[in-house]
């Protein structure tokens, strides 16, 4: 974690460009800029700034945004909700589309279902998410006018509007991931179906359907859960672009504008938060995996 923090700090300060000049506006002169730099502590040597940064971090203080005039933690808190909602919705979409498709394709391996679904999955992996978003906007918002072009409404305030705004972003973000999940689910299904105990179940005369659902399904799910965990992590990155295209006021858009405005504290804050979340997710995946897989539990 320490490596991460240091890398982030150094990285950001290497970027050319002056946050103060942006804040003051195009017609400010050199003296005003100097004064403001001193106010913000930017004129101290780099190692001094780094040490102060560590010290503050230990206290849980992520600093103060230059641009937004508020503590970074507050800025992050305000923007966490849209990103979380987006990621969860995309995850739901990805799972709802991916898991059944994969299971069905695997269960009926070699059939037209299988071929068709897997071709779709291949497309899903290869179509660039941002291009898909643009096409969706063009089709559903511009041409058909069914859904709003961009924007965000909070679920807690107006669920219906929130749903309408979130539909296109969630689907375009989730579509890519659903393809991944589908392929994994399919291969897991195939693998499980080859196992002995499935043959036993069939030999016992059980209907095909119950064979699939009762036995194969649950066991195939184990690695799928792992993939879902990985998907969550990938979604963090994908959310950035989606937020830009759909103008969602979340963490992704925050970091892009912070980078453009050279708002160092905010960039550091978002990156740290992201890295922490990533690690947390991986940890949770490990835990769930251990819980679901009976073989590991009794090991």
């Amino acid at each position: 974690m320490l490596v991460v923090v240091t890398v982030v700090f150094l990285l950001i300060h290497l970027i050319p460009g002056d946050p103060v000049a942006v804040i003051l506006g195009p017609e400010a002169n050199a003296q005003q800029i100097e004064d403001a730099r001193r106010e913000l502590g930017l004129d101290r040597p780099l190692h001094e700034q780094l040490l102060r940064f560590y010290a503050r971090l230990l206290r849980g203080d992520l600093g103060r945004s230059y641009f937004l005039d508020r503590p970074v933690t507050q800025a992050l808190w305000e923007r966490a909700e849209p990103t979380l909602v987006l990621m969860l919705s995309a995850l739901v979409v990805a799972v709802l589309i991916g898991v059944p498709s994969g299971i069905v394709a695997g269960a009926y391996q070699g059939s037209w279902w299988d071929r068709g679904l897997m071709t779709l999955a291949l497309l899903g992996v290869c179509v660039p998410g941002f291009w898909l978003s643009l096409n969706f906007i063009y089709l559903f918002s511009v041409r058909l006018g069914w859904l709003p072009v961009a924007g965000y409404a909070s679920v807690f305030q107006d669920p219906v509007a929130a749903g309408r705004y979130m539909l296109l972003p969630a689907v375009s973000l989730g579509f890519n991931q659903s393809a991944l999940i589908a392929r994994i689910a399919r291969s897991c299904m195939i693998e499980v179906l080859r196992q002995d105990y499935i043959r036993t179940a069939r030999a016992k005369g059980l209907a095909e359907r119950s064979v699939i659902f009762l036995h194969a399904f649950r066991n195939a799910l184990v690695p799928v859960v792992t993939v879902i965990g990985i998907t969550m992590a990938i979604l963090i990155g994908g959310a950035v672009v989606t937020e830009i295209v759909f103008n969602i006021p979340g963490l992704g858009r925050l970091i892009i504008s912070a980078i453009l405005r050279r708002d160092y504290p905010v960039v550091q804050g978002v990156v740290l938060l992201t890295a922490a979340a990533y690690m947390l997710i991986n940890l949770m995946v490990d835990v769930v995996y251990a819980y679901i897989d009976p073989r590991i539990r009794y090991a």
């Binding site: 490596v3 990285l11 970027i15 660039p128 291009w131 295209v245 980078i259 960039v267 990156v271």
Partner: protein, 299 residues
């Protein structure tokens, strides 16, 4: 049994050639018979040829502006239409393939080389392993795109900066792969025997460990190529990739975003090219993975 140097028992029993050279020929033939490889490979080859001969194929100089011809729909004069400066989309797409393939290819080579070096060192020398692992973990804690954006902000626009940033982002993946192979091979009898005989570490690395990695490395490399092509487009789309006046698929899609209603063709065609490139690479990778090591699919 180490993978790659495929002299399996069943093969021997079947009377197949036992020599390494013979096994390799069999492998190559198996690869070439796989349908995914054939389709993916030929499309990709086509793409490479297009990139090579873009100058000859393109009807116009892609950087020449014709201000009077802005946003013209596809016609006999401009097969894929023009953008807002009157540049020919077809020429832009053809030349854009150069950037994409260059970025993808060099990134793949750099990550493979770097991954091999780092992975071998980590797998072989225990003490360095810990440090390297920490570093790699730190790098992998970020979503790839986020790290790429941050790196680009530090270095500024430019093709080589994009390649550099993407190589750093994808390096850990290859390094981990090589490292795990190195670790598994290191304990094998014949390696220990070689060590006892006094063979140096480097020789062992190259003669024994490396050949086992070739297969997975190639597969991984193909996918990294695909990721890099997509990542370059995303960076271009966000405005932090190659300079905007350099023909690149991401740049053209970005310029089309604002005029998507009046002129959907500006974004549509480069996106299509991107999808096709991604498709071909993914098919190729899938096929190679299926033939070289079916067990990799489980990861």
């Amino acid at each position: 049994m180490p993978e790659g140097v495929a002299v399996s028992e069943s093969a021997v029993l079947a009377g197949a050639p036992v020599t390494a050279a013979g096994a390799r020929t069999r492998l190559v033939r198996r690869i070439l018979k796989n349908r995914s490889v054939v389709i993916g490979g030929s499309v990709f080859l086509l793409l490479a040829l297009v990139a090579l001969f873009a100058d000859a194929l393109a009807p116009y100089n892609p950087t020449r502006l014709y201000p009077g011809q802005r946003l013209k729909p596809p016609s006999m004069q401009n097969l894929l239409g023009t953008d807002e400066f009157g540049r020919d989309i077809a020429s832009l797409v053809l030349h854009g393939s150069r950037v994409s393939l260059l970025v993808g290819g060099v990134t793949m080579i750099l990550t493979s080389l770097g991954g091999v070096v780092i992975g071998l060192i980590a797998g072989y020398y225990r003490r360095l392993d810990i440090v390297i692992m920490r570093l790699m973990d730190g790098l992998m804690a970020f979503p790839a795109i986020l790290l790429a954006i941050a790196l680009m902000a530090v270095r500024g626009p430019g093709v080589w900066n994009v390649i550099f940033s993407l190589s750093i982002v994808y390096l850990p993946r290859t390094a981990m792969l090589i490292r795990s192979t190195a670790l598994s091979v290191r304990e094998l009898d014949y390696v220990l025997a070689a060590q006892a005989l006094g063979r140096g570490g480097l020789a062992i690395a190259f003669r024994h460990i490396l050949p086992n990695c070739m297969g997975p490395l190639l597969v991984q490399g193909t996918f990294i190529f695909a990721y890099a092509v997509l990542a370059e487009a995303i960076l271009g789309f966000l405005g932090v990739g190659v300079p905007p006046y350099v023909p690149s698929w991401g740049n053209v899609i970005a310029s089309g975003k604002n005029v998507i209603r009046e002129a959907f063709w500006v974004s549509a065609f480069p996106g299509l090219a991107l999808t096709i490139a991604g498709l071909s690479l993914n098919l190729l990778g899938d096929g190679l993975r299926d033939t070289l090591d079916p067990r990799l699919r489980r990861e």
